[in-house]
Assembly symmetry: C2
Homo-oligomer: 195 residues x 2
């Protein structure tokens, strides 16, 4: 196998890329050797060296604790619990939340044989027991497994002196009632608020 084939094989393992799009990506890289291929190689090498998991919250960053955990301007009384790093990034992008995070690294799943000990849960319980923490937001996905995990966490956190909240469920922005699934519409109806 040549170096080129090996490069294509590795690219085709990325999510969203198959053999065909991996070939296109590699051709694109080779045509832009200096403008793209060299910086990409260097960025991967640098990230391999510098990026580590934050020992407090499970975020990835070049520092430990991460930029969020060590930012003095952020509210230390609220912890937002998310399944994956991508969820943390999504919440950061909406630019509204200024508290701390806790990345679970997955959800409880009987099918995948994933129990509480495989998730980053014990450190969360320890963090929640601290005096400065007053609220825990359970921001797991609105899936069966996400809800199960949130329910489990709520039970585990009962002993701690914190208020526990969940993300609101309802009609998405711009959503039209006629096109919504029954579950969403039902949840929005049940959770209706005074106008």
């Amino acid at each position: 196998m040549t170096d080129l084939d090996e490069l294509i094989r590795l690219f085709s393992k990325l999510p969203g890329l198959g053999p065909r799009s991996a070939r296109r990506a590699v051709l694109h890289l080779i045509r832009r050797k200096d403008a793209l291929m060299a910086p990409l190689g260097a960025a991967i090498a640098r990230a391999m060296d510098t990026i580590r998991t934050c020992s407090v919250c499970g975020n990835l960053d070049t520092h430990n604790p991460c930029a969020v955990c060590s930012d003095a301007r952020r509210d230390r009384s609220v912890i937002c619990v998310v399944e994956e790093l991508a969820d943390l990034w999504a919440i950061e992008r909406c630019n509204l939340y200024k508290g701390q995070y806790h990345v679970l690294g997955g959800v409880l799943s009987a099918l995948d044989d994933r129990g509480p000990s495989q998730l980053n849960i014990e450190p969360l319980i320890e963090r929640a027991a601290k005096d400065e923490v007053r609220e825990i937001i359970l921001a797991t996905n609105a899936t069966i497994e996400g809800q199960t995990t949130a329910h489990y966490l709520a039970t585990r956190l009962e002993g701690c002196n914190v208020s526990i909240s969940r993300l609101a469920q309802g009609i998405p922005m711009g959503g039209e009632l006629d096109y919504l699934d029954d579950g969403t519409l039902g949840a929005a109806l049940k959770a209706r608020l005074p106008a």
Copy 2:
């Protein structure tokens, strides 16, 4: 900008990847640091070093002349002219052609202001003039620009003592007449063969 953001920015420049899928790809890489990220970084670095353009045909390989040009078992009397490297790979995959190649590096295009001097054409004329070459297959795409380029090449090659051929046009394998565009059906009808 952190190392992570930089990595995502570079990935999002690959064809077929946007900001969202680049984030997914980078997360996937980081989760598989040893199994995927390290080999990918190494493969890019190695390819940067070793891969060069073949001075004979324009193919990319770790050797110059490339594996195709230097393979003594391949027929040196036929040259297949393709637009891009990806086309060469496509023909190699069908495992039927055992001659030489010539990669033009694009097509003539008035819109993109690309003339004959920007393509790898002069070396082709020189190759075609050699005694050993007896056939040139013009395997450009069946697009307006591909056909224009093939027509131009046919004119330029008139002086050389070679037979010039084109890929057959017609109904694709498994194609149903009812679903074919008029152009393809018309071409297949015009190029009909004795049964």
